[in-house]
């Protein structure tokens, strides 16, 4: 069996699994097309994130554990781009907030200038301290009252500065841009140091982004969540009230409610698939280009590449920004799919480390591997829980009804997820470190 055939079969396997999920309720399958499409949609988004990580890790060997943060920034972009404009918020304090942020940025720029252009010594440290402290107080003095007045506007529903009221699809590239900006900042400071430091720095920045989203109510309402974000597709209720749709649903032999939910989810699946294919094509072209070869040369031997005149730190920064931007796009797509922004639900185990499992299992360095890993691992992430419950039923079948141990085991079955993911990661790293579809 050739490699190509084997790899195609792996993709077919994932496809069949998702089809089975829709068709049968045997064992751990649910037999609902809705559930199958939900898995497919999130699988597509996961595949995009996996491509982003694969570009960083597989192409360039950068260890980024802050994927959650970039994903969340993508989500923020959806809120900022697509929610309606709130003129009252801009009239009361929005402008001051922007000014305060500009002041904050200027302070940092000034501090960098001081470090760059003044000779090292006590005087420089003193000037630097004065600039930073004065900047901080000016920033807070403008920022605090402005935030107070913005948050006071209709706090039950809004209380934030709102968005630009643009079509939600524009938020996807915007999410990419936002993530790219954050990646540039963090890359500028942490790249060029040893590899573990980038990992710890990205871990930190992700936590901070989530903390900001949770606490800055003026930005995205914090833990009060933004719900009912605009959607690129029609609402199910509208479809059900549309006589021509009901007629069509009847001709497919489905009742209008199921038909409308499946129709919307399938619509998302098509949109996500288009984005995925476009990014996959671009990533493939990049990998084959001279630029891709240079990246792999840098990854395999930095010293040699540097001796050949390649600017390693610059190239690393470039690819770090690109990969993070892809994660940002995926994050924006995810928030669009949920049509709500809930900062409280971002969890590093799910949004950072699971993506890593996808990339490693799929095959680091191979874009198709990343896509396969994304879809496959997502399927298991969803299905490990019912599988665990099945397993536990099997294990506890001999025990007496209502025994404490049986109750505990059944209750804990849902925590099997993390354990299984760790086990899969360790097994793949040990026995097949190149993944299911290895790099060529």
């Amino acid at each position: 069996m050739t490699d190509t055939m084997k790899h195609t079969l792996l993709f077919v396997f994932v496809g069949v699994m998702i089809l089975l999920e829709g068709m049968t309720d045997f064992l751990f399958f649910s037999g609902s097309w809705n559930s199958a499409l939900v898995i497919l949609n999130m699988g597509l988004i996961s595949a995009i994130m996996a491509i982003g990580v694969n570009i960083q890790w597989g192409f360039a060997g950068l260890f980024n554990v802050g994927i959650m943060g970039f994903t969340a920034l993508g989500g923020l972009a959806v809120v900022l781009v697509s929610t309606p404009v709130i003129p009252a918020a801009w009239a009361s304090g929005g402008v001051s907030i922007v000014m305060a942020l500009v002041m904050g940025a200027l302070t940092v720029v000034a501090a960098v200038m001081v470090t760059k252009f003044m000779p090292a010594g006590k005087l420089r440290a003193l000037v630097l301290a004065v600039v930073l402290i004065a900047g901080f107080f000016v920033y807070r003095a403008i920022f605090d009252p402005a935030v107070g007045s913005v948050e006071a506007i209709n706090p039950a529903l809004q209380g934030n500065i709102g968005g630009l009221g643009l079509p939600v699809l524009l938020a996807w590239p915007a999410g990419g841009l936002l993530a790219a900006g954050a990646a540039w900042l963090i890359g500028k400071t942490a790249l060029g140091l040893r590899s573990d430091y980038l990992a710890i720095a990205t871990l930190g920045i992700a936590e901070i982004i989530i903390a900001v989203l949770k606490n800055e109510d003026w930005l995205s309402r914090g833990v009060k969540n933004v719900v009912g974000l605009p959607r690129p597709l029609p609402y199910e209720v509208d479809l059900q009230n549309d006589p021509s749709f009901v007629e069509r649903a009847a001709s497919w032999g489905m009742d209008p409610v199921t038909a409308s939910t499946v129709y919307v989810k399938a619509g998302y699946a098509v949109m996500f698939a288009v984005v995925l294919l476009a990014l996959l094509w671009m990533a493939q072209m990049a990998l084959k280009s001279p630029w891709g070869r240079m990246m792999r040369a840098i990854r395999d031997n930095e010293t040699a590449a540097e001796a050949m005149g390649k600017d390693v730190t610059r190239r690393h920064l470039q690819i770090f920004v690109l990969g993070s931007a892809i994660c940002g796009i995926a994050g924006a797509m995810m928030t669009t799919l949920d049509s709500q922004m809930t900062p409280g639900t971002y969890n590093p185990l799910r949004f950072t480390f699971l993506i890593w499992v996808m990339v490693i299992v799929g095959g680091s360095g191979n874009n198709f591997g990343a896509v396969l890993g994304g879809m496959l691992i997502w399927f298991f992430w969803i299905k490990v829980e019912p599988m665990g419950i099945l397993l536990m039923e099997l294990v506890t079948s001999g025990m007496a009804e209502g025994s404490a141990l049986k109750g505990h085991l059944m209750e804990s079955a849902s925590h099997m997820r993390l354990f299984t993911m760790g086990l899969i990661l360790l097994l793949v790293l040990r026995f097949s470190p190149r993944g299911l579809i290895p790099e060529k």
Partner: protein, 336 residues
């Protein structure tokens, strides 16, 4: 009088919690730094090792409580601690044997080790949640305060109270003892010396006949003990929740790096630096300033530099500053 009140308020809200939290971080960072110095990778599973140790200790604490065993005014968890340590050592050695040893023999790159430790982190996290569940567990018992705010007020006649929780006092005392024993071990015993030699120069240590597997084994045992003690102290002082232990990873790493990765003294200093910056920057200074300053200068607002939810940002900012200006840490660490 006002100045005294200001001092007491400062001690009560900043110094005492800072010391306790700093000790917990220092113990955690010592574990990270030892792994880094000897096994040469950043162990992402450390937070979850702490959670595992704390969990075993909690299970034994419950057992002791149910048979009526107690340590008097001290928390029962102290009696259970040795069992927790043994359990964690068993787990650490088992993990090393089944997982890490293979990569050591392969001489894998550090980043592969980090990746492997991610897998271990997932599995430990799963085990802990599986056994004890993801929720909050309180297991503190015994006397609650060494000195409570009311007693202190009565004793001194000041307006401000000073409360020292038993767990806080216990944390600091335990940390001092543990650190003293650890340094005695590293500096005076044969095994400790061989560990330091191995950390300084692997090849030279191998040439002089040091058995690397033994060194690694002792390292895991010490790290497991440190992680369990840190985890239990943190759990006693705050509360036990698996996810918070995972989140401790960031301040612990920050402590270890700020002090210089691979340097035990640095880890302790780093722990206290991170803890005190977190507490001072997120503390609302209004009370202290109102006492300390003349009335005309008394502040209107809370005088809180950042809200408490940003404590991660504080450890992170310090980390970035140190990385930018002194990448090997304040006390000279390794830069592999």
């Amino acid at each position: 009088m006002d100045l005294l009140n200001a001092l007491v308020a400062l001690t009560n809200f900043v110094i005492v919690p800072g010391l306790a939290y700093g000790s917990q971080l220092a113990l955690g960072a010592l574990g990270v730094t030892l792994i880094y110095g000897i096994l040469r990778f950043s162990n992402f599973a450390h937070g979850d090792t702490m959670a595992f140790g704390a969990m075993v200790t909690i299970l034994f604490t419950w057992l002791f409580q149910s048979v009526g065993l107690s340590a008097g005014p001290l928390p029962t968890a102290l009696l259970a601690l040795p069992f927790g340590i043994l359990g964690t050592i068993a787990l650490a050695l088992f993990t090393d044997k089944t997982v890490y040893r293979f990569y050591r023999q392969q001489k894998a790159k550090p980043v592969i080790f980090v990746m492997v430790s991610l897998g271990v982190m997932f599995m430990m996290n799963g085990i802990v949640r599986f056994i004890i569940g993801p929720g909050d567990q309180r297991f503190t018992d015994g006397e609650r305060f060494v000195i409570s705010a009311r007693t202190f007020k009565k004793l001194t006649g000041l307006d401000e109270g000073l409360a020292i929780k038993t767990t806080e006092a216990l944390t600091v005392v335990t940390a001092v003892i543990v650190v003293a024993v650890l340094f005695w071990f590293l500096n005076k015993t044969r095994t400790g010396k061989s560990m330091r030699a191995y950390s300084d120069n692997e090849d030279l240590a191998l040439l002089s006949g040091i058995n690397p597997e033994r060194v690694v084994m002792y390292t895991w045992m010490i790290v497991a003990a440190l992680a369990t003690i840190a985890g239990v102290l943190y759990g006693l002082d705050k509360s036990f929740k698996p996810f918070t232990y995972f989140q401790l990873l960031l301040p612990i790493f920050a402590s270890a790096i700020v002090g210089g990765l691979g340097n035990p003294i640095g880890a302790i200093a780093g722990g206290f630096i991170i803890a005190f910056s977190e507490v001072t920057i997120t503390y609302a200074w209004k009370k202290v300033l109102t006492y300390g300053l003349p009335d005309s200068l008394a502040p209107d607002g809370l005088v809180q530099l950042l809200s408490t939810d940003y404590k991660f940002a504080v450890s992170f900012a310090i980390l970035i500053v140190v990385l930018l200006f002194k990448p090997t840490g304040l006390f000279k660490g390794k830069a592999v």
